[in-house]
Symmetry: C2
Subunit: 427 residues, 2 copies
């Protein structure tokens, strides 16, 4: 645009030279002034900060990374600048995905891959991120516009496609495999996939892709009544995949397209979606930068401010072939993992032998939190935490089930439930 503006000002000058009559000169100068104020207006709305070569911890107002680099001085993160090496793929740039993308962009993530096929509508304005003037743009284009203005250091790749189509799935897989940003020995060119979609079908597609690529991913969802949500960590072979267990009620999410056809729509709130996006990206940062504990599953019940957690093992009878392959690999790698854990344990016990702060002037004591952990993460998948129930087949099918009264008590683990559902489907 700059070249065009320069040409326009040149045109005004040559017109002035060609018309020496003072009355014409005045008109032209007046027009020129107006054009100049328009130009400055147009430019101010496109002012962008320049790229930053290295992340600095310097405490000055003009440093966009000072508050993040302070995480190192506070002892939270060992090496914050590593965030620039990571690639994160976000599938679904709606109420959760767009906010997750903005958070990662402001944190200075290396590369973001964005997938969506939808366009921005005024009906999306009750959630954060998109602005009314972006109505009609594709969500990916609007996101790239906003995110590149916020932080030009982030490499943005946008994919305006539907991953549930054959062609879309191919491009999705190809983009995840691309290792040009940071070549590694890993199967996939991204470090984490975040699923922020609003329907079951798309979740199953992300699950398939990640199982095939042995790609760790995090799933997120918000209920159609807008007052609960969840995030879940899925490590192929190690944790339950999306096909291993029937989705939980809070994980249901309703395809907005289906609902809209019926003249109704799911409710949504910027609060619930903001909280879920925040918890999702917080766990993403903990996973990538190796600090704190990454939650295997975290629910959010907004009515009671209740946050259930749990852990789910993979289902040995999972219907997904790629999941079974990953499970086999995980079992085969057990001896190596055990040896690794033993080595780390030995290293840790060496460290504890020499206290770092012998004087302890602040009277800080380390509290054994094994009890907290036990409460937070029941290690078996036997029981669901208080407040969660399985999303069973529809009520009609439920009625067909032999003994519904007995069922609610007899389901004491996911494998049992799986077998019962299989029997149900075989009818």
């Amino acid at each position: 645009m700059d070249v065009e503006l320069k040409e326009m000002l040149d045109d005004f000058e040559s017109l002035k030279r060609a018309l020496p009559d003072p009355s014409h000169q005045d008109s032209i100068i007046k027009l020129q002034r107006r054009a100049e104020s328009l130009i400055s207006l147009a430019q101010s709305s496109h002012a962008r900060r320049s790229k930053v070569k290295d992340m600095s911890a310097e405490v000055i107002d003009s440093n966009p990374y000072s508050r993040l680099m302070a995480l190192q001085r506070m002892g939270i993160v060992e090496n914050y600048e590593r965030i620039r090496e990571f690639s994160v793929a976000i599938v679904g740039i709606g109420g959760v995905g767009s906010v997750a993308a903005e958070m990662l962009t402001r944190c200075g993530i290396g590369r973001l891959l964005l997938y969506d096929y939808d366009t921005v509508e005024l009906a999306n304005m009750n959630r954060l991120f998109f602005r009314p003037e972006q109505v009609g743009m594709t969500k990916t284009d609007a996101a790239v516009q906003t995110l590149s203005d916020i932080n030009p250091d982030v490499v943005l790749e946008s994919y305006t496609l539907n991953i549930t189509t054959v062609k879309g799935f191919e491009t999705f897989m190809e983009s995840l495999r691309n290792k040009s940003f940071r070549p590694s020995t890993h199967n996939s060119g991204v470090d984490l996939v975040l699923s922020c979609v609003d329907n079951y079908e798309a979740r199953m597609v992300v699950n398939q892709a990640c199982n095939e690529l042995s790609q760790t991913w995090m799933e997120s969802g918000v209920s159609e009544d807008a007052v609960s949500g969840h995030i879940q960590l899925l490590i192929p072979g190690e944790a339950a995949c999306f096909a291993c267990a029937p989705p939980l009620v809070v994980a249901s999410g309703v395809d907005e397209r289906t609902l809209k056809r019926e003249g109704v729509c799911a409710a949504s709130l910027p609060t619930t979606m903001g909280v879920v996006a925040g918890l999702l990206v917080q766990n993403t940062l903990k996973f990538l930068l190796k600090f704190g504990q990454v939650s295997p599953y975290l629910g959010y019940n907004a009515l009671k401010d209740y946050f259930p957690t749990m852990q789910m093992k993979p289902n040995p009878q999972c219907s997904n072939a790629a999941c079974l392959e990953r499970q086999k690999e995980y079992i085969l790698a057990k001896p190596a993992r055990d040896a690794d854990a033993k080595a780390k344990e030995a290293e840790a016990s060496n460290l504890t032998e020499c206290p770092i702060h012998a004087d302890n002037e602040w009277n800080i004591s380390v509290i054994d939190d094994s009890e907290i952990e036990r409460t937070d993460f029941p290690s078996s998948s036997d029981a669901l935490p208080e407040g969660l129930v399985h999303e069973l087949p529809s009520a009609v099918e439920f009625q067909k089930f032999p003994e519904p009264e007995e069922m609610s008590t007899s389901i004491d683990d996911l494998e049992d439930l799986r077998r019962q559902l299989d029997a149900l489907n075989a009818n």
Copy 2:
């Protein structure tokens, strides 16, 4: 601006008429084209949606409120449109306050009062909301710019002032007392005050104002290591005020100005601040629209995804005179409250006598959640929940205390603690 643009185009037309020479005509037409494209560019970056008279539940893409009005159909909120009657004051438009303001704006709140005296810097870009092109603007101006574009239906009042100065406090009190938006019998013209400040002094000022006005408020804070935060509901006379109890560690927050002078700064993350803002506004919505349970205190430990809750009674020895007055009023009003509660109980028991859905085809059962509540909100202020500790005086003062070993066990309620602190201060 529209008038000026119209005039500019008129000027081009009259210049064309005044210069019939074809070569001049061509130059002018070329200039006119460029000006027109500039105009459309400038306009597109300032396109605003028009105001909406009534909130509609109609499911069309152009309805900005369809997903919010759906909360009624989902049975979450009885009358969503009431949100237009409420005024919320937000003190501090930083990492938490700005996001809270955006959430309330997108929810269609009636009126927002915004208080801050700071300007936008690049160093704020690691948190949501402000954009690099707003650097140098006051936070209140930048917020009004962004929020009025997002939702022109919200009445925005911005106060660029420091509430901790004498003049600032006067204007603050005056603005809270203004009842022109919705005249009521209440002491204050706002329905809720949200404190989103980053220092102890400003919190004490909000506390003073709200105690004087008998104004319910919510406090929020994020720790300087960026990985924990909290929200707290303060009802003068009924719950502990900010002066009743020594602030908790998670409530500490460090004045960024003090830190900056020392060449260091507090760490911050868009995730933690987004989660805290989300929890704060979610509880604001529950409080205003009367659904779910409003949390008296909710903490967020990001490293462990742990969310402690508790309840704090007011301190009968509180150092704040206005708090003691409110406590007296609350005790005097007990008989009226008891009678009211009894009436409501009777009404409720009448309702339960006639089951609404006798057939219950979805097999929905109501679970007694009294146990959950007991776990979540210990009704006495005796003990802090796991993971929380009191922010005691500095370590040096702590050492002066007679028997520090005994102290950690003998403090079993806030009043005890208060007395011990008073004794300490008397030394």
